[in-house]
């Protein structure tokens, strides 16, 4: 555990120092998105990586958080700091309620049900025009502020978002090493066996689903308050797939894997600038190749690859 803590501190230090290296500008804005996506990827990883339950509707929870925050502050004039937990609580309740019937399903059926849920949420964003502004979006969302400090620049928002992202990392680190984390992994391996040894699989799955939705909602609120403008296009099925890609690439069930996946997938379009349309092809290819050749993700894949290469080299030497 002490080693884990050191690792986390090093990671936090790294995150704090990065903006100094790139001196503001556009890159900071991209890195801010890495933070938001890291939160989302960790949320999905709690569900998919630990409990082994897939969701293709997490963009919906992200969107709900963003829209609830947006609507509560713009239309009803709430304080953003109040709107954020209110949105998270509402989304958590919704996910908890939906979780009971949805998580009764397994595998492919679960994937389709969560996908359907995500699409319904997306359609609601588009159609409840008097509430959400419909396809043209909702603008004029207030920035967050503490006292006289308003988070209105990319640099300030970067630290704000990454504060929450680091808390999320720490949280998932704790879950992973706790009784609950072990119970979730047991469910992942065999739900029947987990139930036999006394894990309340049904309830635990719903709880982790709701928890994951709450983190997504918080990320959504942060997104809304940082961008000050939201539109349904950011919360569609494609984004759910993008989240899935992040988790799979980074490494299911690992703590820093989701960060790696989020960083890679957020920076990739920036690196491949001009090849804007190609990113969808690359996501698809990455998903297929990762599942086929590196099912453990980058976090586990590289050490394994190195070990295999070393073994081969060793074998040659022996011969």
């Amino acid at each position: 555990m002490k080693r884990e803590l050191l690792k986390f501190l090093a990671f936090a230090l790294f995150v704090c120092l990065v903006p100094l290296a790139c001196r503001g500008g556009y890159l900071i804005n991209v890195l801010l998105f890495v933070g938001i996506n890291t939160m989302l990827a960790i949320a999905l990883n709690l569900l998919l990586g630990y409990a082994g339950q897939i969701s293709l509707g997490h963009a919906g929870f992200f969107g709900l958080g963003a829209y609830l925050s947006g609507i509560l502050t713009v239309t009803y004039g709430w304080n953003p700091w109040l709107a954020m937990p209110a949105a998270a609580a509402l989304v958590g309740c919704l996910a908890g309620l939906l979780g009971f019937p949805i998580l009764k399903l397994r595998g492919h059926y679960l994937a389709m049900a969560t996908l359907g849920m995500g699409i319904i949420i997306y359609i609601v964003f588009n159609e409840t025009i008097e509430l959400t502004g419909g396809p043209s979006g909702l603008s004029g969302i207030a920035n967050l502020s503490i006292g006289s400090l308003t988070f209105d620049s990319d640099c300030k928002n970067y630290y704000l978002v990454w504060f929450f992202a680091l808390v999320t990392v720490l949280f998932s680190l704790n879950v992973a090493n706790s009784r609950i984390g072990r119970a979730l992994k047991a469910i992942n391996d065999s739900e029947v066996a987990a139930r036999v040894v006394g894990v309340n699989a049904r309830l635990l799955k719903v709880q982790i689903f709701a928890l994951s939705a709450i983190i997504c909602s918080l990320a959504g609120s942060l997104y809304a308050h940082c961008m000050t403008f939201i539109s349904p296009a950011s919360f569609g099925f494609n984004f759910s797939v993008e989240l899935l890609t992040m988790v799979v690439i980074g490494g299911l069930g690992s703590v820093y894997g989701p960060f790696l996946g989020a960083a890679l997938l957020t920076l990739l379009p920036e690196i491949l600038r001009g090849a804007n349309d190609y990113d969808i092809v690359i996501y698809g290819a990455l998903l297929v190749l990762m599942v086929m050749f590196m099912p453990g993700g980058l976090v586990r894949g590289f050490p394994e690859l190195r070990r295999r290469l070393a073994k081969r080299k060793g074998g040659v030497e022996h011969a």
Binding site: I54, G107, T245, Y278, V281, G284
Partner: protein, 309 residues
């Protein structure tokens, strides 16, 4: 049967709507429903043979339409030749997908298969976008655009083509599964793969065949609907999902129940769009999907099955 449903709905709405208008919704609902049915049957065939829900199913629908267009416009084939070529090419794509991605998968857990087929679906869609661009294209109708009037409602000849071709495909399918050795072997795989292989059925060949058949069916669906709805690189997503909803309504059967599921879904959607709100049209299928998965996972017509671990 179609008329009976129309009449009962008419009674429910208290004659407030014109009969012709209801008939119009019913007819267009049935024809789009037939498309869902074809795609749904494709889903079921693969599911029954392999236990996989092929998330890339919709992309073969898109490929059918786009390839027809390609053969028509680029190679200047006549329509009667372009269609079989497009079906053949989509089928080849389906087989390739199975051989290159599904079969070599080392750990075929449901989660991995979901991720793999989603990745495959996005990859195919993305490649189609790179090759053919983002534009929406029209394919000429098979036999003109002269509207036909039926009891005050008008339909296009293409609607009749859709219903006719669907009927034909479903009959051929039924014949194949009930009367041919290869079809019976595939049914055996659906019941018990191990037992099937013990009596000498080449299960891997059956799996490949199931991908071939269902991508061909998807392509046919994509081709017959293209003159009505236009075709673009991204039409596969929604159509594929609706087809899956049809299969769920039919309890993942590869026969009549799924066809009924598609038709019911099509009519519900068309009525919902006409009588309630067109914006929520797409949501209807997914609400039906969620309700069925929650309440009757065995489908609308099936009997409850005990859970296997």
């Amino acid at each position: 049967m179609g008329k009976g449903r129309g009449e009962s709905l008419l009674v429910e709405t208290g004659y407030s709507m014109q009969f012709s208008q209801i008939l119009q919704y019913l007819l267009s609902g049935l024809s789009i429903g037939a498309i869902y049915a074809l795609i749904g049957v494709g889903f079921s065939i693969i599911y029954n043979a392999t236990g996989i829900i092929n998330f890339a199913q919709g992309e073969f629908v898109m490929l059918g339409g786009m390839l027809t267009l390609f053969f028509l416009e680029m190679l200047k084939f006549p329509l009667w030749l372009a269609i079989p070529c497009a079906i053949a090419a989509s089928t080849a794509a389906g087989i390739l997908f199975e051989r290159l991605a599904i079969r070599p998968l080392r750990r075929p857990t449901p989660i991995n298969l979901v991720i793999l087929t989603i990745g495959g679906s996005i990859l195919i869609r993305g490649l189609a976008m790179l090759v053919w661009g983002k534009d929406t294209h029209a394919i000429p109708s098979f036999s003109g655009d002269e509207p036909i009037s039926i009891g005050g409602a008008t339909i296009l000849p293409q609607h009749l083509w859709i219903l006719g071709v669907t009927l034909l495909m479903v009959s051929v399918n039924k014949f194949y599964f009930n009367r041919t050795i290869s079809g019976k072997a595939m049914r055996a795989c659906a019941y018990n793969r191990r037992a099937a292989s013990l009596v000498g059925i080449d299960v891997r060949r059956m799996v490949m065949l199931s991908f071939a058949i269902s991508s061909a069916m998807g392509a046919v669906a994509g081709i017959i609907v293209a003159p009505l709805t236009m075709v673009a690189y991204d039409v596969g997503g929604m159509l594929g999902l609706k087809g899956f909803c049809a299969a769920i309504v039919g309890g993942m059967s590869s026969g009549i129940p799924t066809v009924m599921g598609g038709l019911i879904l099509g009519v519900l959607e068309s009525m919902g769009a006409g009588l309630i709100s067109s914006g929520y049209k797409d949501a209807i299928a997914f609400i039906v999907l969620l309700l069925l998965l929650f309440l009757r996972p065995q489908g609308l017509f099936g009997k409850p099955e005990s859970e296997r671990v």
